[in-house]
Each structure stands twice: as C-alpha cells, then as structure tokens.
Amino acid sequence: DAMVIQNPRYQVTQFGKPVTLSCSQTLNHNVMYWYQQKSSQAPKLLFHYYDKDFNNEADTPDNFQSRRPNTSFCFLDIRSPGLGDAAMYLCATRDRDRVYNEQFFGPGTRLTVL
C-alpha cells in the first residue's frame, strides 16, 4: 500500500545532541510537511516543501532545519535539542495538483530529550 513512513518511531536523545528524523513516501506527492505536536496541542507547522521549494514558517526556531533530497524523502534535523523540543513529530504529504488535496500523515516520531 502507498504510504507515509517515518523512522524511527521513537527517538531518545540527550540535551544538545543533534538528531535527524526521516520521512519517506510512496505516494509521489509533490508537497511534504513537518509538524510538531505536543501533548493536547494542535499540530504546529514547521516547514513544507513544494517539490524542491522550501518554505519555513516564521516562528520555526533556527534550531530546526530540513532537507528534501528527492521526491520520496524528507529529513528534519534538530541541531541542539532542548527539553522543550520533546514532542511528536509528524510528516505529511499532499498532491497539490489534485482538486481534492487532503494531507496524508505518517505515524509520527516521538522524540524524548534527556
């Protein structure tokens, strides 16, 4: 089945130790998103790519960066994780060229910062 895959599902890192989360998709969608979701909060958009065009939300901390080397893969890099970065990180994809263009989400990566 076509899907959005996130690895790892659970990531534990130490305060200040860089971490990379990955997302891959078999849907061939042209838009990919990264969201941060803390407990009982709305998913908060961090970045999105339309093909290779990168879009950074104004309030996304500089500590967060993203790469999209090809259509299928997207990475979220957290350069120096702080305790406040512990959250669920969700990847989503969307086909911008379809009339009905909902987002498809992966299962998320739960990040713990010690």
Binding site: L90, E102, F104
Partner: protein, 110 residues
C-alpha cells in the same frame, strides 16, 4: 489573525448518545476545511474535506457540515471504538499551509 477553534476540548458520551463537535474558523479566503481522527500515539487519519458552505459529507456514524464560519462533526449513536481526538484544519486559497485546531478528545463509554 487566522484562527481555528474547536469545542469542546473534551467530551464523554455514553454508547449510543449522539452529539456534535464544533470547529469555528476565521481565515481570509477558505479553500477547504478538513476533519481528521487521531488515536493516541498515532498520526492523524483523514476523514472528510468540505469546500463550500452548505456542503455535507457522511461516513458511517459521522457527518460533517460546513457554514461560512464553522463546521460541525455530528456523531450518531457512537461506539467505544469512536473514542479518539478529532482535529479540524483549514486551508486558505493561497499557499500550501494548513492550520489545525487543538482538537476535541472524545471518549465513548460502553
């Protein structure tokens, strides 16, 4: 400022007790309103898209409706397996961004 507000924050229902969840929005130029279901520790799962006022969509025990300022998710005769957080999101006419509400946590008691 564009906003999406969901109410109530939490809802407990007896099995079979119908109710509605609300999503109110203030965005300039709505392209679409989306409902998602999210189970604990999982990613959101798409339910419905609504594009214009007056539109309605149904799926099993769920029915979503849209007006110019809000959307309702009606749950008819819910079952325990309907327990989840229900999120709504809006997309503006311009751009690729989606803005989510904080969700309604639904618990259906047998």
């Amino acid at each position: 400022e564009d906003q999406v507000t969901q109410s109530p924050e939490a809802l407990r229902l007896q099995e079979g007790e119908s109710s509605s969840l609300n999503c109110s929005y203030t965005v300039s130029g709505l392209r679409g309103l989306f409902w998602y279901r999210q189970d604990p520790g999982k990613g959101p799962e798409f339910l419905f898209t609504l594009y214009s006022a007056g539109e309605e969509k149904e799926k099993e025990r769920l029915k979503a409706t849209l007006t110019k300022k809000e959307s309702f998710l009606h749950i008819t005769a819910p079952k325990p397996e309907d327990s989840a957080t229900y999120l709504c999101a809006v997309q503006q006419n311009t751009g690729n961004q989606f803005y989510f509400g904080t969700g309604t946590s639904l618990t259906v008691i047998p």
